[in-house]
């Protein structure tokens, strides 16, 4: 499966698997290079995803014509 298509959970699980596989002394050099490459890719992909969320708080309402709309919400201001 392509790394980009894996869910975050799958990526983490795969990464843990790779660490375990690399700990096995009988792994061939070729295989360990492959795993190494994949592991580094997975790790950087996960790090990238951690920064993907947009970092905002929005309120979801229905407009008068029934459409779903969002607006950014500042709770401190709302309170006053």
């Amino acid at each position: 499966m392509k790394i980009e298509k894996m869910s975050f959970e799958e990526s983490i699980t795969k990464l843990e698997e790779i660490v375990k596989e690399l700990e096995d002394e009988n792994i061939s050099l070729e295989e360990s290079m492959e795993k190494f490459e994949m592991g580094i890719k997975l790790s950087s992909n996960c790090l990238k995803r951690l920064n993907e969320a947009e970092g905002k708080i929005e309120e979801l309402t229905r407009s008068e014509d029934g459409k779903l709309v969002t607006r950014e919400l500042d709770l401190e201001k709302e309170n006053k």
């Binding site: 983490i12 990464l15 790779i18 700990e23 050099l29 190494f36 951690l50 969320a53 779903l68 919400l73």
Partner: protein
């Protein structure tokens, strides 16, 4: 008839009497409380309820109309001990009196608790709480949906937990009343809207309160909405000790709203730390693997064979030289042996003898030639004399010879077929008579039948 008219007392019709009794009863028992056990319960078309209330010795009919029972939180069931409020009336059609119940509540425990227990039991039987239906909560949701009251402290608690765990979290809030009559419907609608908008997880959140305060989260409608929700859902209602129906149906129960903030998303700092740790570990593992292999490589390459590879070659060179010498010697020996066999055969051949034999055979052939020629000559002479004999014999049978002896052949004038019988010609017909020296054209004058049998016989 006349007798009746003279009666002093009033004569009622049935309807009049029933109406009057009803009025009397309704005014005398206009607002009463009655306690008893439910029996013969009948819920007509899920609208009006008909049942008896009874004690050890007696019972009374009760009717509770739809408008009065639709807001009951618990279900009235056979055997339930309840207290009803209402008035006594008469069903005039049958002349039966009954209590019209306006309200009912369970005896012994609160109606809310009973309603909660009844719904919980029902949903549990339907499998709404089964593990198999629980969806996994994603550990890294891009968008977190939440249905709660924007005005409350709960949302602030959750946000502060989220800020601590995951700085760039994306929260979609749907403001709802978390108590009151409309609350349950609002929350249902919020779930629909959040699903439609597209979030990765939904939190239903509310602070602590009495059972009544939390009631919006104990309705069957909301339970069904949560059960059918395609998005993973966390129920975070009340304090740690509060349980609501939504807690049971949801994919996950958070003991408090703050806990919901914890379970809804991973701790970013920790996650980053773990990922870096994993990368480091991978790098180190490969590094040490390389180091081991390098060591092995060095050990191998330090052996003589790699340092002075020509030693191997020298050994082979020497062997090859020896083999080469052996090969040439063998070949020479072989050639010599063959040459000897050849000269042996040569000696066996005697040239003089061969020429002598050729001469002898030539002579023999010459003799044979002479014999064959004389044989052929003899043969020819023999054959010639035989032929002469045959020719002479043939001479006697030749028609020309016959003609020479005086016979003639007769033909028809135009045909080359000879006539053998006088029947073949007619009188006056022209014929040709062939003799040895020419042809006579003649005409037949007369036919005389006379057989020449005897003459022929004599000739033969």
């Amino acid at each position: 008839m006349e007798d009746n008219k003279t009666l002093k007392s009033k004569i009622y019709t049935v309807s009049e009497l029933n109406l009057e009794i009803r009025k009397n009863l309704e005014s005398s028992y206009s607002d009463i409380w009655l306690e008893g056990e439910v029996s013969n319960f009948y819920f007509h078309d899920k609208k009006h309820m008909y049942f008896d209330l009874k004690d050890e010795n007696s019972k009374i009919r009760v009717v509770m109309f739809h408008s009065n029972n639709k807001n009951l939180l618990f279900n009235i069931k056979e055997g339930l001990h309840i207290l009803i409020n209402g008035y006594v009336s008469v069903y005039e059609k049958r002349g039966e009196y009954q209590i019209v119940a306006l309200d009912a509540r369970p005896v012994g425990k609160g109606s809310l608790i009973l309603a909660f227990e009844q719904l919980k039991e029902k949903l549990e039987k339907k499998g709404y709480f089964d593990r198999i239906h629980k969806k996994n909560i994603p550990i890294l949701p891009n968008k977190i949906g939440i249905a709660t009251s924007v005005g409350g402290a709960v949302i602030r608690d959750i946000i502060s937990v989220l800020e601590r765990r995951f700085k760039n979290f994306h929260l979609i809030i749907r403001d709802v009343n978390v108590q009151g009559i409309t609350s349950s419907d609002e929350i249902c609608k919020a779930i629909d809207d959040l699903c439609q908008y597209g979030v990765d997880v939904i939190i239903l959140a509310r602070g602590g309160g009495s059972l009544e305060d939390l009631w919006a989260f104990n309705t069957e409608k909301l339970a069904e909405k949560i059960f059918d929700c395609p998005v993973p859902l966390i129920s975070a209602v009340g304090h740690e000790t509060d349980y609501t129906i939504s807690d049971f149906v949801a994919d996950k129960r958070a003991a408090t709203p703050s806990v919901a903030g914890e379970v809804v998303i991973l701790n970013k700092t920790e996650a980053v730390e773990n990922l870096k740790e994993a990368s480091k570990k991978i790098k180190n593992l490969v590094k040490s693997k390389m180091a081991i292999l390098k060591k092995e490589f060095n050990f191998l390459t330090s052996r003589r064979i790699f340092i002075k590879p020509e030693t191997i070659l020298n050994k082979f060179n020497q062997a090859a030289g020896e083999l080469c010498i052996k090969l040439i010697g063998n070949m020479k020996r072989l050639i010599r042996a063959r040459e000897k066999i050849l000269s042996d055969y040569r000696q066996l051949i005697d040239e003089k003898n061969i020429f002598k034999r050729i001469y002898i055979y030539r002579m023999a052939i010459k003799n044979m030639d002479i014999r064959i020629i004389s044989d052929i000559k003899n043969y020819l002479t023999l054959k010639k004399s035989r032929l002469k004999l045959i020719l002479e014999n043939l001479q006697g049978k030749n028609p020309v010879a016959i003609l020479e002896r005086g016979f003639a052949i007769i033909y028809k004038e135009k045909e080359d077929k000879n006539i053998k019988s006088i029947d073949e010609v007619k009188i006056n017909q022209k014929v040709r008579i062939m003799l040895t020296d020419g042809i006579l054209n003649a005409r037949i004058f007369k036919k005389i039948y006379k057989k020449l049998e005897i003459g022929f016989k004599n000739e033969n």
